[in-house]
Point group: C2
C-alpha cells in the first residue's frame, strides 16, 4: 500500500480529512453544527471604474476539503466568476471543511446567517428534511440531464426553494458528477445471493436499500476506508467515479469495479445562500450569483465527464482494473426495494410525498423520451 500511496499523498490526505469530518459529523449527529462567525458583509466605499460602490465580502463554507478535485474546485471557480463579473464588488472567500464550520455544519451555518453561502449537497440534510435527497440524487432516479430539466423547467427548483424557505435559505443547483460508479468489491457478485451478508460502505438511501437487500451497509470514516477494505473489515465500498477513485488508489486493493452507480445516478450539488444576505445585495449582484451558479452547475459536469473518461482509461489500461456490470437480478432487487422505500417514506411525510410525486411524474415522462433519444443513440452509434 505505502509505495502507491506515496504517489498521491495530498489527495489522500484531503480525502481522509473529508471523511473523518463527515464521519465525525454523522456519528455525533451534529449535521447542523455551526460556529458563530462575524457577519462578513461590510460596506466599503471603493472606486469601481469611475464609480464609488459598496464592496461585499462574503464567506462561503463547503463540505469539501479546500480545492478538492471536482467538488471543491466548483465553489472556487464560482467565487472567481462572481468577482470578475462584479468588478470586485462581491468578494467571496471559499473555506474548506472545518476551517469555519464542520463539513456537515454548512446548512446550519448559512441558515443562521453566521456565513452568507455554502456549497454542499441536499441529501446530507435528510435527517431534518426527508425529501432533500430528491434534489441531489436517489437510487434509480433521474440522471443529470433529467434532474436539471426537472429543476429548471419542471417545478423542482420551486419545491426546493419552498422547502428551504423556513430555514432562511435560497438553494441553487451547483454542479453534478454524472452517473457514479457502483463501487469497489472484493467479492464477485453473480446474483442477489452474493449481496447477503456483504459488508459495504454505502451511505444514504443507497445504504438503506443495500441493507434491505440482505447486505450490511456501514459507515466507515474515509481515513479507515483503504485499510478496512484491504484487511477485509469491509468487502466493498462505493466512492464517486474514476476521476476521484483513481486518486484514492482503490484499484490497488480491490478486485472488482462494478457499474453502474444505481444509488447515485447523477448527484446535483447545491449552493445555498442566506436569504437576508441575498436580500441585502443590489439586484445586479443577486443576478450575478444566480447566473454564476447556473454556469458552475454545467462546468462541474464538463470537468467530471472529461476527467472520469481519462481516469477510466488509466484504470483499465495501466492498472488492469476488472470492470464489471451488476447482474440483472441484483439491479432488479435494488430497484424494487427503492420503490418500496419511497412509498413508505411518502406515507410518513406529506412533504416527501409531494416532492416524490412531482419528481416521479417528471421521471416517468422524460424516461419515455430519453428511451428513444439519448438511450437509443448510445445503443446504436
Amino acid at each position: 500500500m505505502s509505495s502507491q500511496v506515496r504517489k498521491t499523498p495530498l489527495v489522500i490526505v484531503a480525502l481522509v480529512a473529508l471523511n473523518v469530518i463527515l464521519f465525525a459529523a454523522l456519528v455525533l449527529n451534529r449535521a447542523d453544527t455551526s460556529v458563530s462567525v462575524g457577519q462578513a458583509s461590510v460596506g466599503l466605499d471603493r472606486g469601481v471604474g469611475a464609480s464609488s460602490e459598496t464592496v461585499y465580502r462574503w464567506k462561503l463554507v463547503t463540505t469539501w476539503p479546500k480545492r478538492f478535485p471536482g467538488l471543491g474546485l466548483a465553489p472556487e471557480n464560482f467565487a472567481e466568476m462572481v468577482k470578475e463579473m462584479s468588478a470586485g464588488r462581491l468578494l467571496i472567500h471559499v473555506h474548506g471543511a472545518n476551517e469555519v464550520v464542520p463539513a456537515l455544519g454548512v446548512f446550519g451555518a448559512v441558515s443562521s446567517g453566521s456565513v452568507e453561502m455554502g456549497h454542499s449537497a441536499a441529501y446530507y440534510w435528510k435527517g431534518r428534511i426527508p425529501a432533500a435527497p430528491f434534489f441531489t440524487a436517489v437510487p434509480f432516479g433521474m440522471n443529470v440531464q433529467e434532474l436539471n430539466s426537472w429543476l429548471h423547467y419542471g417545478g423542482g427548483l420551486e419545491l426546493w426553494r419552498e422547502i428551504y424557505e423556513p430555514f432562511n435559505l435560497i438553494p441553487f443547483a451547483g454542479g453534478n458528477t454524472g452517473v457514479q460508479m457502483g463501487g469497489w468489491f472484493n467479492k464477485e457478485i453473480n446474483s442477489i445471493e452474493d449481496i447477503r451478508g456483504l459488508k459495504m460502505r454505502i451511505p444514504g438511501f443507497g445504504g438503506d436499500v443495500f441493507t434491505r437487500a440482505g447486505g450490511t451497509a456501514v459507515n466507515i470514516p474515509g481515513g479507515e476506508l483503504y485499510t478496512s477494505l484491504q484487511s477485509g473489515v469491509i468487502d466493498a465500498t462505493e466512492w464517486v467515479g474514476p476521476y476521484n477513485d483513481l486518486a484514492f488508489g482503490f484499484h490497488q486493493i480491490a478486485q472488482y469495479y462494478y457499474y453502474p452507480g444505481w444509488h447515485e445516478p447523477g448527484p446535483t450539488l447545491e449552493f445555498i445562500v442566506n436569504k437576508d444576505a441575498y436580500n441585502s445585495l443590489p439586484k445586479d449582484l443577486q443576478k450575478i450569483i444566480e447566473v454564476a451558479t447556473r454556469a458552475i452547475n454545467q462546468d462541474m459536469l464538463d470537468e467530471y465527464t472529461a476527467r472520469n473518461n481519462s481516469a477510466l482509461v488509466e484504470l483499465v489500461e495501466v492498472h488492469n482494473v476488472d470492470v464489471r456490470r451488476f447482474p440483472d437480478d441484483v439491479n432488479a432487487t435494488f430497484k424494487s426495494i427503492s420503490q418500496e422505500l419511497y412509498l413508505e417514506l411518502a406515507a410518513q411525510d406529506p412533504t416527501f410525498k409531494r416532492v416524490y410525486q412531482s419528481y416521479q411524474s417528471f421521471l416517468d415522462g422524460v424516461r419515455k423520451y430519453h428511451s428513444i433519444s439519448e438511450e437509443a443513440y448510445y445503443q446504436m452509434r
Copy 2:
C-alpha cells in the same frame, strides 16, 4: 390540413418564415450576406446606482424567427440575464432572422462588425469552414454531455476560437437540443434497401451520408415542407424533436416517426461576438457575456428536455403517432458512410483533420466511460 393548422398558426408562420429565409440563403449562396447597420455601441453617461457609467447598446442577430420556441428564446433569455447582471450597462437587442440580416447572414454581419453579436449554429458555415460542423453536431458524433465536456475540458473551445479568429469572431457554446429525432417518414424503413430512391429533406453531413446510402437528400424550403410531404413530392423529412415537431404538425401527414437522430446527436448552438466589440467592453462586462452564454448553454437543454418530453407524450397518447426505431443495418450503413466521409474530408483539409482528430480522440475515450455509466444506467434503471 387546414383545420389542424389553424390550431397553431403563429408557430407555422414562424416556421415557414424561418425556412423560406434559410432556403433562400442557401439557394442564393448568400450565407455570408450582411447588410451594413450603424455601429450600435454608444457611450452614454447614465446613472447606475450612485455611479455614472457607459451604457453599451448592442445588436444581436439570429438565424431564427423572433422568439422561436427553444432556439429563439435562448438569445432573449441571454439578453435579459446580461441586462440584469450589468445593471443596465449592456443592453442587447435581439433581432429575428431578416430583421437586420438574413438568417444565414449572421456570421458575415458579426464578422464585419456591422452588428456586435449573433446566435446561430456553426454547421451553417461549413461552406467556408469545413470543420465547423464539429462544433455543432456530426452524424454518429458526441451527444450534448460529451460535446460540452470536449469544448470546455478537452480543447474543443480553443480550436473553435482559433478557427474563428481570422474572421474577427469569438465563439461561445450557446445551447443544445439534445439528441434529435430521425425524422418523419411516409415509407416504412425495414432495411437499407428501403433508403434507396427515398427522397428526404435532410441537410448537412446527414444529407451527404443519406445520398451516399442510395437516397436522395433534397433541400425543400420549410414553407413547402408540409405540402411536399403531404403530396408525396418527398417521402420523408427531419426537423428537430417532439417540442418543435408537434407545433409544426407533421403528425397530421406522416405515417412514421423514426428515431434516433443519428445525424444530429445533440447540436450545440453558438453565440458569436465581434472581437473588436468585445475588446471595447470593460472586463466585467466581458465576463458577464461569457458566464451568461454558459448558463444559456445549459438552460436551453433543460427547456428542450422538459418540452420534448411532454410533447412526445402528446404525440403518442393524443395523436397516436407510430414511433419506430431505425433498423440496425440502416444505422450500420449510415455509420460506416459517415466515417468514410470524415476521412475523405480530413485528407482534403488540414484544419478539418486537426479538429477531427481532437474530436474523435475525445469521443473514443468518453464513449468507453459512458458505456458503463450513463448508457448502462439508462439500460438498467
